[in-house]
Symmetry: C2
Subunit: 305 residues, 2 copies
């Protein structure tokens, strides 16, 4: 099968490209830049917000994985207009080309931001969606446009609202990804800032589990459009740091700060629908996933020295 991965140089994208190539698919990797290249893969460098070659790029493509975000949650509120322009307009330019082709789309939305303030212990896909950041609003708008293009033009698509992914390849110096940032600081002996008492609960999912969900979604023929993808379990920041200490055999040096009003106490996704419809379930125990991540990160940090 001919697959196109948008955002192929990103954290999840890199893993997805490798998995798809491993399954024998013909992979086109679209991204802003690529470091390591594989001869089996066709690379296209482009700017998603400003791409005018979609007809050519989509030629013969059967499945397209749209993983691109031009913003991250934290800073998206600084410039919502850039967020709308880069992400919604970018997606519409892509969709206008895609609707004339017979291409299936899998879109990675955000389980951590589209729901906003949570009124339930376990969030299912029907939970209210009032995002507390522009990033969540643009993800939601793209979800709605995918549903609309299905209605109007028969474009098949599946939306995955993904929890907090972690694993090998997530950069410790990036501006998002608590696992990588914390682990990077513990491994280098740097202090860790925590706002509040560390009881904030999130849903962390290993990147290979996410990749299997994305591939399962592209093969799904049922009627459901939107799935939560998470571990199904909640882990507090202090528990996460405890596990990081365990897998790195290093002590975390934590500085506690007053809590911030916009940090939601709990966000854990219900994944019952994905388990039932996609016949997918997360497999990696968190401590094992963190071990693998720590081995990779230690190696990367050593090489960087």
């Amino acid at each position: 099968m001919r697959c196109l991965v948008l955002g192929a140089s990103g954290f999840i994208g890199t893993h997805l490209v490798a998995s798809l190539a491993g399954l024998g698919h013909q992979v086109i990797a679209y991204g802003r830049s690529f470091r390591d290249k594989d001869t089996n893969i066709k690379y296209i460098i482009g700017d998603f917000s400003n791409e005018n070659r979609w007809n050519e790029i989509l030629s013969g493509v059967q499945v397209c994985y749209h993983l691109i975000s031009t913003t991250v949650p934290k800073s998206s509120n600084d410039d919502p207009i850039a967020d709308v322009t880069g992400n919604i307009i970018g997606a519409l330019q892509f969709l206008e080309a895609a609707r004339k082709k017979n291409v299936r789309i899998v879109f990675t939305s955000s389980g951590g931001t589209v729901y906003g303030r949570i009124n339930s212990d376990s969030i299912d896909e029907n939970h209210a969606t009032d995002p507390l950041c522009s990033y969540g609003i643009t993800k939601l708008a793209i979800e709605k446009y995918l549903l609309l293009y299905r209605e109007l033009h028969g474009v098949r698509s599946v939306v995955l609202r993904i929890a907090n992914p972690y694993g090998e390849g997530q950069q410790p110096d990036a501006i998002q990804g608590a696992v990588a940032v914390f682990m990077g600081r513990v491994l280098r002996g740097h202090t860790i800032d925590i706002w509040g008492d560390g009881s904030v609960i999130r849903d962390y999912i290993y990147v290979q589990d996410v990749v299997r969900a994305i591939i399962a979604a592209s093969e799904y023929g049922g009627k459901v459009n939107v799935f939560n993808i998470g571990s199904g379990a909640g882990v507090s920041l202090l528990e996460l740091l405890g596990m990081i200490e365990q897998v790195t055999s290093k002590k975390a040096d934590i500085i506690f700060h007053p809590s911030r009003s916009f940090d939601l106490p709990r966000n854990v996704l219900s994944i019952a629908k994905a388990q039932q419809e996609l016949r997918w379930t997360p497999e990696m125990p968190m401590i094992e996933g963190l071990k693998k991540t720590a081995i990779w990160m230690q190696k990367t940090l050593n090489e960087a020295v």
Copy 2:
């Protein structure tokens, strides 16, 4: 009080400006063009999607009524990118200026399009929102940005999801507004095209009832952000035409066509929340509202000859 009406030359806007001026408020009317001018009102001609004078326009304004749409439901799907640019980016440019002022905002969203396919006889504000047109998606995104700006910057706002308004001033040759279009054709003896059997049920609300809801929303100090505004009752197309025949004393000449897949069978809003929180309720019986509309329209058509 100093009030700014965005979309003041439109159907609802014209009525709102007159009511606010009648209540003794200082009114600034913003729109694309104005025919009849009132010396008590300050008029500003501008293009909402491309306005760079917001700081100046908002100076001293206490309440802003945002009634502008640069698109209509039917044609919004023809160019979703223009819809996003005109409406979402336009609203964000306005909001970025508004958040630095102490201004309350009332935004007219769309009860007829934000919900999409209906799964209930009476739609409350928690119903799923999967719009079947781009117009509904951009309305929804602006709603979400208003909620976000309240959270981030304390901008007070109320969203009104309005059903199908009708009344004096709605143009019979416009591309939306079933009441005015049908009435105009009946009055001129033109045929009326109906897709399906005319059993499609909608919620029609008299424009003065809408104006009272908008003013009530601007005075509201409670915690609810989103209200449905409708008549609370469903009327089929055939019932509507029957009433139009009654008030015009003319026969409707109907041509029936096969039904279209995108015409939803029923859309009637639950208005319990607005009744309770805004202490507002629709007052005009439909047959009376249609009588007033017919008198105005007959006069307008006579003058046009």
